[in-house]
Amino acid sequence: MSLLCETPNPSRRAVLMTGGALFAWAHLPRFARAADRRDPRLIVIVLRGALDGLSTVGPVGDPDYAGLHGDIALSLSGPNPALPLDGFFALNPAMPTFARLFKAGQATVVHAAATGYRDRSHFDGQDVLESGLPGPGNATTGWLNRALANLPAGERVAKAGGLAVGPSTPLVIRGAAPVLGWAPQALPAPGDALAARVLDLYNHRDPLLAAALQKGLDADRMAMSDEFDGKTMKPKGGLDNAAGMRQSAQGAAKLMASDDGPRIAALAFDGWDTHVNEGGATGRLANLLGGLDGAFEEFETGLGQRWQDTAIVAITEFGRTARINGTVGTDHGTGTVVLLAGGAVKGGRVVADWPGLKPAQLYEARDLAPTSDVRAVLKGLLADQFGLSAALLGDKVFPDSAAVKPMRDLTT
């Protein structure tokens, strides 16, 4: 494990993934636990690829849901029943930890949420989500870093800097404030998602390369399933699989649990672009949700006493179509869920101004219509956890968003 100081300076950044060296917190002045009991932490998990909110938290009480979401719709009956949250919404059964936290009042869902972005490009959507800017553009800094930069310098949160988990720093935490980089391993192998996409492209354009790559991937898979020689298994570390998500959360929790460790962290999990064979209560999406659920569990365990002051928020660039497509998946959409978990979260609620799923109620007759702004949720968390003012949030952290009021009372 390597832990290296990262600043926006490219030469420092170049150090990030070299591996080997261990950067301790030694050069930072140790500071005593604050006099007031609270020592808030905020963890942002970016789910890249557009999470299907309707398969994560299904509106099982909506009469139009089952028809639209077809074979992959969640249901309270059947072999893998969804986990009821309230009388209307039920959670994907791949997420038992989140369900337990919800019951314990430590998890909340904000449904039918979206950023201000209304087109359907992943790249632009992620730019808007992570930069906090009103629209896509050449964003170089993220809202979480700007929040950090706008905290008073003496503040222990600002002093400890932020933590970027993964082989590359997510845009959301890039910027002027110091950020530490940490990755479970220097070189994650590419996940299956990329391999499948390259194979698909080769199948269409380059059969010879397709055949060679297919063989290479098959050989890899065989090596990994070789139960007689577990030690030679290739690491499966890309952050688009359950094991990688869990592993990265475990490492991040360890760093954040320390008294002089970072209070703010960003992680990015990939693989949510479920156009084909998405699955419902089981299958591809469920596997990924299991990984996210595992990450929540690792944070809960790893943060120990600090869990009570922690809020985790999982956000995605946009949702997916309400109606399943011709390949039992979903295409790019609009409204989706924001998931909140942590001891500091005022939980046990699904916050939603439910728009309904009738054709006329869908956004552009295809997507869950957004009724909450993701920025409102994020602003509320930053205001609650770190005391940032609405004026600052509306100007510096999320520029030109004064009209989007912070959603308060998300934390205890």
């Binding site: 993934m17 992943h122 590359s168 998602a193 990329l194 492209l201 390369l209």
Partner: protein
Amino acid sequence: MALPVSNAVPPDPALVALNRFGLGARPDDDLGKIAADARGFLKAELKQQDIALVSIEDPANAGLLDSTAAIQASMAANAERKAERDRMAQPTAEPTAMAAVSPDAKAKSTVPKVEADICRDEAQARFDKALNAGPGFVERLVGFWSNHFCVSVAKGQIVRACAGAFEREAIRPFVLGRFADMLLAVEHHPAMLFYLDNQQSIGPDSRAGKRRGRGLNENLAREILELHTLGVDGGYSQADVTSFAGVLTGWTMAGREGRLGEPGSFVFNTNAHQPGEAVLLGKTYPAGGMGQGEAALNDIARHPATARHIAGKLARHFIADDPPPQSVAHLAAVFTKTDGDLRALALALVDMPEAWSMPLAKLRAPFDYVMALRRAVGPSAGKEPQRTLGWLRALGEPLWQPPGPNGFPDHSDAWASAEGLKTRLDIAWQTAQQADDIGNPGDMLSTLIGASASAETREAIARAESRRQGLALLLMAPEFQRR
């Protein structure tokens, strides 16, 4: 390798220039402008003074050693290692002190690995040169000739120490010069003499041969004829090989003691040279010491079989895995007409209609792929040159370490393997993860590949679920793999 997709329209001239001939586009390149005068773009690079050189006089290359100094450093380290081994082997007078040394500590030498350090610095200089080149056509020529006249660092520490210097001293000064001059520089160089065992070859009738009862080692003579000049079907016989080996006896490197000359430098050792005249390829070379071998090399450099052999390899490298026979014939004619002027050959390649009409079907060789990828992505995290050296090793073509004196293969089949493609996927992914700042991968596709990118590639990249995945897809796209 057959074409992946039949393609009647000629390829984009900008891609021919940048990919078939060069090391790939960089973000600042303007494909439209390059396409407007693609031949001129390449020829301009060939015209630049000293474009191929990596000079140790240049402050940018401070720290690089000439081959003599590098070999001396290796000799000194080797002597230290030997002394250390001798000390370890000595039964010690103090058994308690001996017992304190663990077996592990015993096995590990404390002598710094100077050869590895030198080699790494040379690798860095090679990579920097490739990354900063304009089209990179000249660097491709350097790679071609370096592989043609390859040495391997696996041979021993001496070669590890001077493989980079060998390329700078014997290859680079001549890639736009005369083939005969390159041939002579190569066969005089200690790296080659050591790699192909010529320092052990002794004329049986020489003074040393008579005294020590030792004789010829044909390795260098055979490989010069088979690989460096005439080619395996070049019309030479075993008698020619034996005779030529005799001619080359005495071509060696001065040892550490310096009895023959400056340690680590080339010397002609008269005492080891087979005396008398020699017959090679039907021609008699009178006795003449080192001059006998130089005269023979000058002749075989101009042999028609050499012209055909070099023409065939150049065409295979730059035109296609199986080049049209007329391309080879044309290049061979140019070689002969210009007395092996390699700049004239490079220009002839650029002027060949086939170069601009054949589909971009050949896979990029590992070095070319890795450089193209680094040029495309720009600044990146990751420790260099170790990261790039590791990639080349993973792709089966570690820098300056070919499996044999015939060099790395130059045919797509060698690279389109299961492991090869899987490794390229890993590298593309790692590159995408480590890139400093990436823009929109769709825009990058337009910049790097341009309008001729297939609709499928465009769509795959546009649909990627993240920028980094999109970049990895771009780096894996057929348009990026093939040139």
